[in-house]
Amino acid sequence: MAFAAFGSGGPGAAVDQAPRRRSWVALVLLLPGLAYLALFFLTPFVSLILTSLQTPVEFGDVGQFQQAFKIENYALVVQQYWPHFLRAFGYALAATFFALVISYPLAYFIGVKARPWPLIQALMLTLVIAPFFISFLLRTLAWKALMSDETPVVQALKALSIIPSDGHLTGTAFSVIFGLTYNFIPFMTLPLYTTLERLDTRYLEAGSDLYAAPATTFWRVTVPLSMPGVVSGTLLTFIPAAGDYINASASFLGSAQTQMVGNVIETNFLGLLDYPAASALSVLLMGIILLLVGLYVKRSGTEDLL
């Protein structure tokens, strides 16, 4: 265990006793957290893996399974649902990209430009989190209404032939990505704001002093220094967006053609009662996200930053 007490190595006879007692105290303090993780993360996770290997009971009812080691479940779900995986990661990636493009200037404005006016900063931050005061389902439904065929916006787009006269906005990839972007923007803006708020503008002055035009200073100094915020913001957006099943569901902004992995997990668990397939999908989704995130964090090398 990497407790500081072990590393201190101070002189004196008392040292022999002190670290041992302190590590014992630390362990006691850690216990609730460890118990929580064991109970609410490890147990369901093990149960999920076990379920994903189950096989149907012979001549049993729908939804009756027995424990087995049916690893083919994984191959079956990949075969059947690979487009949903692609869609999930494609939509999540697009939503993360758009959220970043929208949030960065916003966070930069709040965190850097608005520094002399704390009141404006506070007001804008409140506006960023204000949507949380209304249920996420309700807001998504509101967007469905706003994008429905009868609204003036859609009428106007049709009149301008931007969308065909028999086209829709809801139920398309556009509306799903739009919904994901909209719903996850605060998760992108807040971490970006916290790093940009701490950005030392003297580095920007130094860049300008060293012949870097504002755009060059932005790419060479501001962006690298705000990477911790970019990384945590994109992770906080991408991970939940990849597993989301609300925006893409046909009752909200999606349709049968826009189903993501989250939707098929829901259908398998709650509709088809095919628990092994749903579990295998969940484990795969988790594994892929973990792999992508691991590669991403390793590539962006955030541990090097400050």
Binding site: D200, R202, Y203, E205, A206, G207, S208, D209, L210, Y211, A212, A213, P214, T216, T217, R220, V221, P224, L225, M227, D304, L305, L306
Partner: protein, 399 residues
Amino acid sequence: MVGSAFAEAGADLELVGIHKRFPGFTAIEDLDLRIPAGSFFALLGPSGCGKTTTLRLVAGLEQPTSGRILIGGKDVTDVKSFKRPVNTVFQSYALFPHMSVLENVAFGLRRRGISDPVGKAHEALQLVELDHLAARRPQQLSGGQQQRVALARAVVNRPALLLLDEPLGALDLKLRRQMQLELKSIQDDVGLTFLHVTHDQEEAMTMADTVAVMNKGAIEQMGAPEELYELPRTAFVANFLGQSNLFTGPVISSKGESMVVDISGVKIEVPKDRSQRHNGEVTIGVRPEKLSVHSEAPAKAAGVNVLGPGRVTDVSFSGVSTQYLVAVPGLGPITVFSQNMVFGPIANLGAEVWVSWTVDHGFGLADDPGDAPRFASDTNTATIATQTRNELLAEIGEG
């Protein structure tokens, strides 16, 4: 403005009628300044006197409210900072934490598209003897090393004008002395124009060819360090650059090359050519180290001023010299720095002493004694401690 070539030599800097107002206060009031090419110029002043603002105006990080800035004869007032042939060594160094030392130094070269940026960066690091740390990150270096990297990062671009914003402020005394010498030798080597901003009078005097003392947004006096020290024009300069004993009284007569001033009944002579005012109430002064302490009344001699008898109220031994505080009735306490020519102090606490100085060492100030600030002698240890603390507080407040 910025070519892809190095500046051949330093350039003149000229500030014409600069005003800078911030909401609520005026930082610089009608500043005119000309710094010749290749010189080492120091702007010296207390915190908040406008010296850093002046530097930022030259760097292009602030815009003047009115006035022009010329570098090498070209008007750069409206030129953006990244297009000015100027580099700054920032007080905070502002080394990019996400880049190696080498990349920090090469940054300016790359932006200007100069060939072989890495090779030139290595050369600059060799100049400051840090090439062996080129691969490190700035935050892995000590304060003194970071300071030298900041210097290399600025000097490598061979700017026509190098701006130094109290770059030695964070260093300890020994390192600071060493860096002062290094800076001076680099300036001699590369022949750039240096504009150095500092509140450390000793630093300004040891390094600069010309020192301008700034106070409340205006230059009080400008000249060679010896000139400023030996012949201060105002009470502010007399006390900001070293210490001075100042006395106020009316001019009562003229005596050849000198004028006679009545200081609480004692006639003191001051050379006319060392005095800014020649009639009415005047403030005159003399540096503490120009004074001698006598334990018996010195014989009257031409060309010597004598004050006394007085009583020694404080004696502090500081190695090379001893500082006495002498209270003369009718006058404020007088400070004397006396070299330790014998072992230990020559006068003890409470002793009756006389103080004398050669007439040629006196000076007369330009201030109107009516509104000139009366400086309480700041020579007892308690006031020095308070003053140092105030300076530190001001410094912390500034940072």
